[in-house]
């Protein structure tokens, strides 16, 4: 026990003094939630809120088509008068001073009266950010509806049923809502959390194993009178310590920043406070241990620091793979899913996030299965350190 604590203490001290390693441990944990919350707030604010706001439309020659302007205004459009010559109008849209310009030619009244088809230029920039494309769609739809209404009236006047011109009609049913989009984003949060847990101990696992050997300090260490089990577990525990610290940093940042997302606007109430944070922490703690064991084992197998770095880089894909697969295949949280480490934690944390109560059996299975696999990796690492191969 003493040897274990001595190794743990030394590795933690050694790591704390390594700025590169600390940065790599905590950057993702601290900035991940901020970035994530920023993205969610952005998505919600741009897709939401402004849909009820009036459409702002710059119109050239509005006096030419009072009927159309009337119709637009009734459809919640604010008309801004403007007069450009044609080239200047396109430039104004291109450089962003105007978002959307409708051009009504002087001949409008005359042509409209004579029933000739007429093109109305609607100038927009599809490559610009923000709501331009949606506004373009809204303006186009309003004008189409106006045109259709006029057309139907003309047919009626001539004694033709307007429906004869519409043998087919597409009815669009878009089930995606801002809430659904927010949820989709939210479901990638547990994925981020798993990566944070693995990244937290990443460099520690490297430094304490392959790094120790490359530094030629492994052999003197192995000559000390402590058991290989204490030695390996001490190293593993230091990796786990920093994995846990990264996890805490992540959860605290999340609890602080998540309330900034306007979930209430989409009718969702998401409370992620100290209680939920603590729940998530304890649910993920077995994963911290398993991750440390896996990282330590993999880094010890490598023949050099560089090789170990490559292994661990590839290893980061392993815990996230099941999450991606199940996300695409849309599994419900079930008992057998709880047997897969990282998948089970992602699933449980998702449930905590959206305020569902956790099934005790699921938590138990997740903890037990993850601990068991972690212990298996630990034993393999201890066995590896008990062979001469470890000296390289």
């Amino acid at each position: 026990m003493n040897g274990f604590l001595t190794v743990l203490r030394k590795e933690c001290l050694d790591n704390v003094r390594d700025r590169r390693s600390i940065i790599s441990s905590l950057t993702l944990a601290l900035l991940g939630p901020v970035f994530f919350v920023g993205l969610m707030a952005f998505v919600l604010n741009t897709t939401l809120g402004k849909s009820d706001a009036p459409l702002e439309l710059t119109v050239m020659g509005s006096e030419n088509a009072p009927g159309l302007i009337d119709y637009l205004e009734r459809e919640n459009t604010i008309i801004n008068e403007a007069s450009f010559d044609d080239a200047a109008a396109a430039d104004a849209v291109r450089d962003g001073t105007e978002a959307l310009i409708l051009v009504i030619p002087e001949s409008f009244g005359e042509q409209f009266a004579s029933g000739k088809p007429l093109a109305l230029p609607l100038i927009y920039d599809s490559s610009s950010f923000g709501p331009t494309r949606r506004n373009y769609g809204r303006a186009r739809d309003i004008i189409r509806r106006y045109a259709a209404t006029i057309g139907q009236l003309r047919l009626s006047v001539r004694g033709v049923a307007p429906s004869i011109t519409q043998p087919l009609r597409v009815q669009e049913v878009d089930v995606s809502s801002p809430a659904a989009r927010a949820l989709q984003l939210l479901s990638s949060l547990p994925y981020l959390l798993i990566v944070v847990v693995f990244m937290g101990g990443f460099y520690l696992a490297l430094d304490t194993t392959a790094g120790e050997r490359d530094n030629h300090s492994l052999e003197p260490l192995l000559i000390q009178p402590i058991s290989r089990a204490s030695l390996v577990l001490g190293k593993l525990a230091s990796t786990a310590t920093f994995g846990a610290l990264a996890l805490i940093a992540f959860l605290v940042m999340l609890a602080v920043s998540l309330p900034l997302v306007p979930f209430h606007k989409v009718g969702m109430s998401l409370s992620f406070g100290p209680l939920q944070g603590a729940q998530a922490f304890f649910v993920c703690l077995p994963l911290v241990f398993m991750a440390a064991a896996l990282l330590t084992l993999a880094a010890s197998y490598a023949k050099s620091y560089k090789e170990a770095q490559t292994y661990l880089g590839l290893l980061l894909i392993v815990p996230t793979a099941p999450i991606l697969i199940t996300q695409f295949m849309d599994f419900e949280p079930s008992a057998w899913l709880m047997l897969i480490p990282s998948q089970s934690q992602a699933s449980l944390v998702s449930q905590i996030l959206i305020g569902e109560s956790l099934e005790p059996l699921h938590v138990l299975l997740s903890v037990a299965a993850t601990l068991l696999i972690g212990m298996l990796f630990s034993l393999m690492a201890i066995r590896l350190y008990s062979t001469e191969r470890i000296l390289g």
Partner: protein
């Protein structure tokens, strides 16, 4: 007291050490001399319990290194070949870590640390982080680390490797001091002159086998060479033929 009894070690098809036997007595400096690749480091690794012999046995103060490795480690201090130290820890912290691994209490560790720092003349750099230490400073830290548990037996694998003349002399005096305290000292070298300056007993090893055991005088008599280097050469080269 270190006793090596007919040990052999094979790595795959390569035999690194074959039937090596010798003794290193307390209060004496025993040198293991041989060209590069002769099997010196392999022998030392077996003695320091990190690898097991394929055949034969070795004991340190009566403790079998294979069956009682933890007890054997208590009684030996080892300076491995090119031993690395932790660059983000200070010299003192490096040594303290090993003291703790030996289960010593903090008071004992601090007391011995002070003694070792004075004895090895480390006052000027003991509390600096070891990144950027000279080779001489690094060896001193590694040696202090090997001595923190006050071992009766000391195994030094090419301790003067990479040291300048001053540092080599200083280290030589320290090794003699340690011998005079009654410790058993086993060190390896491939430089005959260094061995001649230091050792009481000599074991010459080549191609994994012992070629000679005895004192320097008996080496001269045996090979009928006055010059030690010639004597060494005659033993080593004779096995190549």
């Amino acid at each position: 007291m270190i006793r090596v009894d007919q040990i052999s070690k094979q790595f795959g098809k390569v035999t690194a050490v074959r039937d090596v036997s010798f003794e290193a007595a307390d209060g004496q400096i025993t040198a293991l001399l041989g060209p590069n690749g002769a099997g010196k480091s392999t022998t030392f690794r077996i003695l320091s319990t990190v690898i097991a012999p394929s055949a034969g046995a070795a004991t340190v103060d009566g403790m079998n290194v294979q069956s009682q490795p933890l007890q054997a480690r208590e009684t030996i201090g080892v300076l491995p070949h090119n031993a690395g130290i932790y660059s983000r820890l200070t010299g003192r912290e490096n040594v303290r870590y090993f003291g703790r691994l030996h289960g010593l209490n903090e008071a004992t560790i601090n007391e011995r640390l002070d003694q070792l720092i004075e004895r090895l003349d480390m006052q000027s750099f003991a509390d600096r982080k070891t990144a950027g230490f000279s080779q001489g400073q690094r060896v001193k830290v590694a040696l202090a680390r090997a001595l923190i548990h006050d071992p009766r037996n000391l195994i030094l694998d090419e301790p003067t490797n990479g040291l300048d003349v001053m540092a080599t002399r200083g280290l030589r005096d320290i090794i003699k001091d340690l011998r005079n305290e009654g410790r058993c000292i086993l060190f390896s070298s491939h430089i005959m002159q260094e061995v001649a300056n230091l050792c009481d007993e000599l074991v010459i090893i080549d191609s994994g086998q012992v070629q000679f055991r005895g004192t320097l005088d008996s080496l001269r008599t045996r090979t009928q060479e006055d010059d030690l280097e010639d004597a060494f050469m005659s033993l080593v080269s004779s096995t190549d033929e």
